[in-house]
Structures are given as C-alpha cells and as structure tokens.
Amino acid sequence: MTLRSALKRIQASFTRRSLDASLDEEVRAHLEMLAADHQCRGLTPEAAGLAARRDFGGIEQIKDAYRDARGVSAIEHILRDLAYAGRGLRKSPGFAVAVVVTLALGIGANTAVFTLIDAISWRNLSVQDPESLSLVSRIRLGRSETGFTFPQTRALRAVDAGVRLAAYSSSAFPLRLTASVDGNLEPPINGQLVSGNYFDLLGVVPQAGRLIRADDDRVPEGHPVAVLSDAYWRRRFGRDPAIAGKRLLLSGRAFDIIGVTPPEFFGVEVGLSPDVFLPMMMQASVMPVVGDLIVKPNVNRTWVQLLARLEPGVSRERASSLLEPVYRENVPQVPPALRARSGAEDRIVFTPAATGISDLRAHFSTSLFILLGIVGIVLLIGCANTANLLLARAAARRPEMTLRLALGAGRARLMQQVLIEGLVIGALGGLGGFALATVLTRVLVLYASAGRVPIALDLTPDLRVLAFTIATSFLCTVVFVFVPAIRAVRVEVTAAIGSVNGTARTLGGVSSARLLVVTQVALSLVLLVGAGLFVQTLINLTTTDHDVSRDRVLVVRVEPSGSNQRGAPGMPERLHHIYTALMARVGSTPGVRSVSMGNVSPGKPESGAAVAITPGGTVGMQDARSVDRPSASMQAIYRGYFATLGIGLRGRDFTEADQRLGAPPVCIVNEAFVRIAFPDQDPIGKTCISVGAPRRAYMIVGVADDSRYSNPRAPVQPVVYTPFFQSNTGRGQMILYVRLDGDPRAIVPAVRDAIWEADNSVPQYEVRTLAEEVDGVVVRERLLATVSMAFSLLALLLTAIGLHGLLSYLVLQRKRELAIRVALGARRSGVIALVAREAVVLVGLGAIAAVPLMLVFARVSVQFLSDVLFGLTVDDGVTFAAAISALILVGGVAASLAATRASSVDPMVALRAE
C-alpha cells in the first residue's frame, strides 16, 4: 500500500459517517438509472426496480466490501469503542463522577507537588544560556560560603582569568525598601543591588526602556537609577508605557526609573523576585542598616555574591587558579595554628547555576519529596477504589458480555473495549487533575509563604509537568483497569448464559476486591501514622514555655529619620526621646497591656551584634581569631521587653534610671549565656566585660529564660540585653512590641493612630503579630503537618468508601440468598453479623499488613527524615493508637451503613426481582 492510499484510508476512518452517506447516495443514483433503463425497455416500474437490484448485485455486500477497503478497521474499532465508552459513562453519571473526581483529586495533588518540585529544583533560569552560568563560592577553613566583601569582588573582577564576573547583593542582607511614588507612602518593596555588567552577563533584554549598564556603576552614590521588575511594573504602575523617566523614592532618596525587565526574569534566586534592581554603587542610600560598605567596607559583611560565565575554552580549574591568589591577598589572614587545624588554603570554586540558586531548595526539597510520596499513596488508594468500581461494573455487565461473545465477538475486541473505557476515564481524570493542580499549586505556595517575603515561583506548567501528568494518568489507568478487563472477558458462555441474572456463584472478582480493600486499609494506616508524626513534630517545635499568646503581640518596625546614623552627635538622645514618647502614647491606648522596644526581632536573631564569649563573661567582637568561640547576640531593649514578650525573668528588669543617658552600665543575660560564661554560678551581680570600643563593664542584673522563637531545632543562642544608650551598635532602628488584651484586629488601627500621633515622621512598616513573624520559621513543618494530615484523612475517606462499596456489593450479590433466609425466619441481626464479620476481617487484615510497612517506615524516617522530624521517640505509641482508633471508627461507620442497607432488604422485593 502506498503512503498516499494509507493516508487516504486513515482520513476516511475519521469521516466515516459522511462518506457512508455519500456512498448511499451514489448507489441509489446508480440503481435509479438502472431502473430507468429497464423501464425504457418496457418493464413496469416495480419490475424495473427488481431487475435493477438483480443487475447490481448484493447491495449490502458491495457496501461492506467498499467500507472495508476504504478505511482502517483498527482505527474505526477504536473510534467506535470511544463513542461506546462515552455513552456508557453518560448513562451512569454517578459512577462516572465518582471515578473521575477520585482520580482528578489524586492526580491533581500529585501534579501540584511535582510542579513545586520542578519549579524549585529543575527549571532553568530564563536567561541566556543558563547552562554555562556558575556561582562563585569560596572555601575558607573548610567551610564553603558564597558571600564576598565589596573590595574582594572588585579585586576579583579586575583579574583577567578568562571568566566574566557579575556581582549582586546577597539575600542574606535583604533589601526591604520603603517606597514612595508621587509623594504617597507605599508598602515596602524588595530590591537587589547589581553590578553594571549583571544584565549583560545574563543576556537579559529589557521590555521597556533600558537596563543598568557599566556606566551606571562607577561612582558611589552617583547613579540614582532603578530598573523595575515586570511584576512590580504591572502591580503598581499598571504597565504604564511612559514608565521610563518616572521618579521613585526609595528610603528617602530619589531614583529615576530607566526600564523594566522582561516578564519571565526574576533574578537568579529561585523563590525570590526583587521588585526593583539598583546599581551597586547606590548601596549606602538603600542599605542604611549596615553602613556604607563600598567606601568603608567591613570585613565581616560579605554581602556580595558573584556570578560567573567562563569564556569558551577556559576550564574551571584554570579560572580558579588565576583568581585564588588575588582572593588570598584580599582576605584577612588566619592564624597559622587555626589554619593548620581546619584545613587547606583558601580556594575559589565554581558551582553550576543553571537552575538558579535557592535556599528554598535546601529547605523544602526533602519535605516536597515526602509530600509526593504521600499523595502518591493517596492516588494508589484512589485507584484501588476505581478498580473496585470497575469490577462491580464489569460484573453487572456480564449478561451483555456473554451475549456478545455468543454472537461471535472476539474476546480481544471485548477486552479492547473495556481497556478503552478505562483509558477514557483515566484521560478525564488526568484532565481534571491537571486543572486542579494549577489551583492547588498556588494554594500550597501561598501557604508556604507565611514569612516576611512571599515566595515567587514560576508555576506555569512546562513539558516536564505535562509529561508527569500524562504518565501518572496512564499508570493509574493501567493499575485500575487491568484486573477488571481480564475479568470482563473471562466469561464462560455456556455456564453464564443460563444464570444471567447472577447467583451466589457469580461472585467473581470479590477476591480481588477484598485484596484491594485490605491494601487500602494498610496504606491508609501508614499514612495516618506518618501524618501523626509530622503533626507531633510541629507541636514539639511550637510549644514554648512562654505564657503569652503569639497572636496577641504586635510587632512594628519603626525607623525615624536619622535612625541609621545612630553614631551622629545628639542622635541617640533624639531617638530615645522619640521612642519613649512613642511607647508612652501607645501604652495609653485602650486594649494595650504593655509596650516595649527592642532592636532585634525574635524571628531573626542573627541581626543582633555578634560577639564572642569567653568563660568568665568577657565578650568581644567577632573576628578571625574568635571564629571557633561560642558567639552571643547583643541586643538593645527597653524595659518591659520580657513582660511584653512573655519571657520569664529572674532578678530584675531595667528601670527608668538604667535607661537614662550616663547611667552605670547594666545588662540582662539569658540562660544560654550563663551556661557558657558562668557555668554553675549565679551571674547576678557579676560583670560582663565588653572589650569593644568603648570598653564597658556591665553589671548583670537579671537572667532571662531562653527564647525559643527563632530556631526551635538549634541550640538556643546566648543573648546579652542592654539598655538603648549603652548598646554598641550603629543601628538606631527599633522594633515596637505591643501586648494586647483583646483581638488584634480591633486594636491595630488605634495602635497605628497612636504611633502617628506620637511622631508623624516615623515611617511604619507593616504591623504584624508575633505569630506571623515567628511562624515563618516553621513553615516547612506546618506545611508537612497540614498537608499530610489532610491527605491522610482523604485516604481514610476513600478507604471507607471502598470498604462500604465492597460490603454493599457483597450484600447485593447475596441478595437472593439473604432474602430467602429472612423469609424463612432468620433474624435481621444475622445479616448484620454477616456484614460486620466481613468488615472486621478486612480491617483486621489491613492493620496486620500495615505493621511491616510501618516498621520499614520507621527505619527509613530515622535515617532519612531526621532533619524533618523533631523530638520523637522511636516507639511513638500514641500516634499509632490514635491512627488505629480512627481507622476502626471509620471502618465501623462504613460497615454499619452497609449493614443497615443489608438488613433492610425486603424479601418480597428481592425475590420478585428475579
């Protein structure tokens, strides 16, 4: 057969109906002309018609031969089966909805989690040639880090090492900017500082205006230009085409907007999307917290990261070898003793960055794969239900199948039809799942974004996600259609045709169904126990001894102008005055229980001044020599801090006198500090000596409980609290803490007004609750706990449905037998006992089958999941018991529902139905 005729035949298979119609018409015309001919010869019209038919030959045979030669029978069979499957589903909408919804839920959940994994881990950056992009990291004393100081990057970039380097500000130094457009204060936005060649290196082309160039990166503070991200442009400026040339005030400094990045570009860090890009030379204006790091760099502030593109023909080793000497020159020397202990020379390493850099990945990877496992199991359970439903359906259609076999249909054709029906269901489930996944993914991301900065991910489905959905749907179809398809055609024609209505004998498929239900029970149990573990982890991490509800404490960042120049003459007094007035005004607002201020948020303790501790209570600046000494955080607070945050305090709090300028230096330390600096002693009354400039001797007046807000998993950080005037920090920005007596929503507006009244030059950030601040830390655990619990309950529900379905089916099959029994005088309770026995056996078997699964799970989780679980002992009996009880409860409900249905079988109705 030539290609031409093959194509024509395939085409004909799809246009069968219209081709049939035209063939009919053609044949009719032919017959008419034949008849007319005969009439001319003198026959009567009827005789002519008959003669015509005779001359033509067997009309239907001719048409059949024609049709067989015209199309491809395989295609036509498939099309017919598809139409048949569609009709069948439409006729039993309940069944169709049940299976499609079950599948859609399962496939949708799997696709959603897979999309997240894909977006976080596998997607390439939308820049030019991401494969050749690398991130530069340095290895110092065995530790690998990616941050450099500005002078280091300048020196490295000046080297001709066959590699192009571009710099950008690290997300460890977040740039959260107060913005102002046309004089109106705006919500804060995220920014990123980039070097002049950043966009050029990445090959990014602006969609409006121009991007930052080398010319914009020469003079410190000399290039007030800004590039907007597409999202910010859309959100705030409505994609205004005249955007280039507009002004944007950032942290009080005016910037000219010069252009907009394309929609698919979000920087190089997955999950973070800066709203605005600024030239690196403008650092001092927009990062006041850390001071001017370009003109007066600080060796500890490694705030710049480097991207690299190797030039063609240059190997990584060669580039490293050229860069390392320059790096070593620009790095503070490590004492030889320390270096000998910790390992080799400083090195420069290139790591591939095609998929971007991501904290998210490290943080969420394991959890997402766990979630994928969970939703995968739920999908299996759903498939089992679908298989059972199909089995029941196949049994109900046995008479039809028998008839068709008797009439000569081939078994292969029947099986093909059942398979196609399964494929249709699978495809519908897949489509539904795909649509559902788009919604679910966004919900998951929103949920996981409970932190300061919302997670920005490119969630549009790509080929990988599409392939995953298709593969999953297909696999599911294979799983649930396999057994029913075989059963559907394994019909003995002679045996079945006599008892077409079915007797107790036609319980075919029940053993498979039983097996499926037992599997479902076992899997649900495992899921429940797993979810219970995650929930318990979360509880362990979030219960604290603090007696205050985290929803009732407000956290407000206040930055009066000049607060970033705390060292300026007269500035501390001015700030102190503002702050005390502020606290007085807010404190007198109705609904406020207590007010205080501190300069470090409990959720981010690393922003405090870091000092190294020596036993005996001396603290000094962190430097290269003290790298392996325990470190503490020095924080400035006002009195009432511990009461407001609900942290226990021994000794005394700061008084008004302590807070005055010139008062004798005092401090409060926490228990962790005491354990290191004054082990086994009572530190109250002792002094803590700070060897910085100026050298101070603080008397310890109180000991606070350890605060576990920040990182519940890690050991608590030692803290030294000092009054505002006595703190050694350049930061004047403080955080206002307000403890409320009632519902925050009602009181927040009053608090805002109070702040405004106290000093209307104080720009405000968002007012958040402590819960919002701190719960961001346990996002991952919360995500795992919530999603796993939700899906375990779903799995339980599906299992219950499956159990109920099976029991009902059994009842249905034995309806006649049961009816006879009841008619003969058996009590209805006998029927219930029958059902109950069956249910108990199934659930029991499932529970027993779950035990080895759970042993394996326990082993696996101890080995691989230890960073996700917390505070659990190996035999967590409580969880297990709770899971079993839930299962028994649900199983009982399902069984009793089936039992009531069974016992309400009216013998007369049942028998008459035969």
């Binding site: 031409r4 015309a29 032919h30 002309m33 007319a36 009309i59 031969a65 024609y66 030669a69």
Partner: protein, 113 residues
C-alpha cells in the same frame, strides 16, 4: 459463443475502468458499468455494483478523481475522471497485457504432439 463468465480478473476490471474513462471522459458509476457491459458484448455478466470497490481502489491510488455533478436525467451523481497518472498507468498496463497475451498465444499456439 462461450458461456458468460461471472468472474473478472482483479486487475482487469481496474484496467477496463481506466480505459473507459480515458475513452469516454468523465462518467458516473452507472455509465462506466454499462459501457463495460457493452464492450464485453455479452462475454461478461458483471454485477454492476462490483465496480465501486474498484473505483475506490483507483481513487486511493490517485489514478482517477471524482466530483459531484448532475447526470442526464437531472440527478445528483458522482462523476469520475482519469488523471494524468492514471493515463500513464493505463498505457503501462495496456502494454503489459498485450505482451502477456502475445506470450501466452505463442505458448498455447505450440502444436501439441
């Protein structure tokens, strides 16, 4: 006259259709069948309907094409016409037939002794 044969060799029917269309120009199914009967002069009793599968085959191979038109008695009918490729094929097959016939005649004309 030899008894009419109801069997027509497979390829021969295709050839007859092609020749008919070549000689007569565009024709509908009935016209082709009637012409073939006439040409066969009673040596062939053809079930007229059997030309339809043949017409299908020829159309699939691209040797004829079809279009709807109006017949002599103002009826809508499908008209077939030969294509250029069809004419080439006709020439080829006609040549093949005559050579086959010549060869068979030679073989069968041998004196049987």
């Amino acid at each position: 006259m030899s008894p009419p044969s109801a069997e027509v060799p497979y390829g021969a029917l295709d050839l007859m259709v092609l020749k008919t269309l070549d000689a007569m120009g565009p024709q509908h199914g009935y016209g082709i069948a009637r012409r073939i009967e006439q040409m066969a002069e009673g040596m062939l009793a053809l079930n007229q309907g059997t030309i339809y599968p043949a017409l299908l085959r020829l159309e699939q191979k691209g040797w004829i094409e079809s279009d709807w038109g109006t017949s002599e008695n103002n009826r809508r009918a499908r008209f077939y016409s030969i294509t250029r490729a069809g004419r080439k094929q006709l020439a080829l097959e006609a040549d093949l037939w005559s050579r086959t016939v010549a060869m068979m005649s030679r073989m069968l004309g041998e004196p049987s002794s």
